[in-house]
Point group: C2
Chain length 411, copies 2
Amino acid sequence: MKKDMEKKEKAAHIKFIGGGPAAVLGVTGAGVHCGLKPDGALVLALFLSEQPCKTAAFFTANKLLGAHIPVFREKLRAGRGLVSALLVNSKNANCSTGKQGEKDNLAICAALAKELGLPPEQTLFASTGVIGVRLPAGLIRAGLDPLVTQHGKAGVANAARAILTTDTRPKICAVETEHCGRRYHIGGVAKGAGMIAPNLATMLSFVFTDLDLPAASLRKIAAECVEESYNSISVDGDTSPNDTVLVMANGMSGVKLGAGDSAGLARFKESLGAVTKRLAMEIVRDGEGATKVMHIEVLGAATAADAKCIARAIALSPLVKTAIFGMDPNWGRIISAAGASGAKFDPLRARLDIDGACVYNLGKPRRLRAEIMRNPDVFIRLETGLGRAAARFWSCDLSIDYVKINAEYMT
Amino acid sequence: MKKDMEKKEKAAHIKFIGGGPAAVLGVTGAGVHCGLKPDGALVLALFLSEQPCKTAAFFTANKLLGAHIPVFREKLRAGRGLVSALLVNSKNANCSTGKQGEKDNLAICAALAKELGLPPEQTLFASTGVIGVRLPAGLIRAGLDPLVTQHGKAGVANAARAILTTDTRPKICAVETEHCGRRYHIGGVAKGAGMIAPNLATMLSFVFTDLDLPAASLRKIAAECVEESYNSISVDGDTSPNDTVLVMANGMSGVKLGAGDSAGLARFKESLGAVTKRLAMEIVRDGEGATKVMHIEVLGAATAADAKCIARAIALSPLVKTAIFGMDPNWGRIISAAGASGAKFDPLRARLDIDGACVYNLGKPRRLRAEIMRNPDVFIRLETGLGRAAARFWSCDLSIDYVKINAEYMT
């Protein structure tokens, strides 16, 4: 009941709508194949904003970096964080390609900027795909002209497809949010089917909004939303060299928030969080070989860091993941993963619920119901009884297909 | 050539011999089935030393603890670290069984001590198997009498089998070491086919020696050997609630080392390390579903902690493990795992060799030879070029059978 009421309340001012980035005023896109993939699949994407976007950018923590990441950092600095055009290729990560990789990125961006009549520092170019192979610059340059000719609202769906690698489906999401009787939009795309698959350099997400808000507020809110979505999911527990998230605001809705409008900013955070969580969840659901999504909630932890540490340990444990795959309500593996996490944890004070049924309480197992873990979504709720901190984490199961996909990729 | 010479030099004073713990003077054993497993498999083991052993003990870091661990700690304190008899059951971990679990352990120990005429604090009882089920105390008590009647040198092989769970074979090892023209022995057993499988509460290892040395020296050397063997292996990267390693010295060879005999103690460390590494390697080789063993060596790291952190990250990465299973010399996954480890790492200064062939150097991939990763042992050597610290780690691949074994265990 409470959940329904919360949903209704949220529904009153935040509405999921179609179109992804196309729902955002002034944002267009296109996707082309350009010969990079032998089957003629879409492989080159353009996202374009009519007005420059204030941009909050987040990159991988991996010390191995795709060539686009240092280039992004430098351009965002030079262009004061404003971005108008975003080019993305899949199939080739432009990673471990040295200075040549950065030069290739800059040269292609310069060509695109010229064709669009934009400053080069407002034109970014991200890559995802195989590591260690030089970008086929000629093929990509040949794709620029059709991208520029074709871009439009209808092309955004093609752009969302062109950024995919091992993903089985595109991931898009948009919301419309009401603010003082007016409306603004947030729409994004994502790709990724493993948090890491270095030969596919995995997670990218680009989110646009037509809200106008101070750059500092955008950065702060975007950072919080990234932490609670993309940084709270795992498919195989690692971090790709190319992971990139951009949150871009072009202000074209005419809705403007000041730095002091705490209610308006809170609603924006809720709206952006709705989009980033939905996209993150889509990544988990499309995880390599995944048959189930684990929703992990840790409550009553001593600190927020402990809560996340325990949630992450459960999410990453191969034994928990295989148990979920086998629909085996193996509470011992979950309690043990929590105990081994390094966080403060006392099994005698803990309570574990799976799919709403208590399976373990204060050190003792409870009788298991046969029907738990049978659905595509499995809910794991661990109350540690040590404090008030909480965390959520999402992960998928570890299946035979995961091993097949990853053992057989290159060979 | 250098390796051969090292081996020859080692062979001069350390010789691998048969028998495991039976090679150690005064150590006997027995294994019985006692009805705990329906197929009549051996399930209850006794290891006995004619003279009390000075004992160095190491337990899991998991906050969920098997009932035997607090009891061991208390008895080792009360008995000043002396142990004469060690009872072990498989099939039931006596974990998450509360105070009753500790009581069951103490009562069975008391019965065994009485039958053997030993002080109860010198009689330990360890368990491994399913979590959360009370120990079948009656069945185990009924097994004590046959154990006491049958124990002998020949029974040690049965004891080594009785402690197994998902292991496919027993793990025993012994060496004979020369010291000033006299000989002493070190012999041990181990069980474990996953670092964690909480329903099987995994790694146990018991190592005996007939050397006489100060308790403090034994503890220090045993701790170093445990760190370089059992703490440097992984099957699935976690820590079971029941993990226990005991190193026990009964002094019965008559060879005695003083605390100041640094050459003698160094040779003992080398000898003990030979046994613990061999046993640890046997655990990895028998890892659940394993088809290959990864030998990981990280050199030139900034600090020892960084070296181990990088080695561990490579060993645990599901993507590296699936690549090894697929015999896919995917250097990108290894470099990326190192980059994401959190340790100091610069891909532009690193060099990676697989099976003796350089596949990546200073940021650039090299041409791959088809024959690498084809053998059951895969050698990964990462030179990070940042300092002088080194670490070794051993792990196995992640196979389709691993998923099958762990998805289907309870169901």
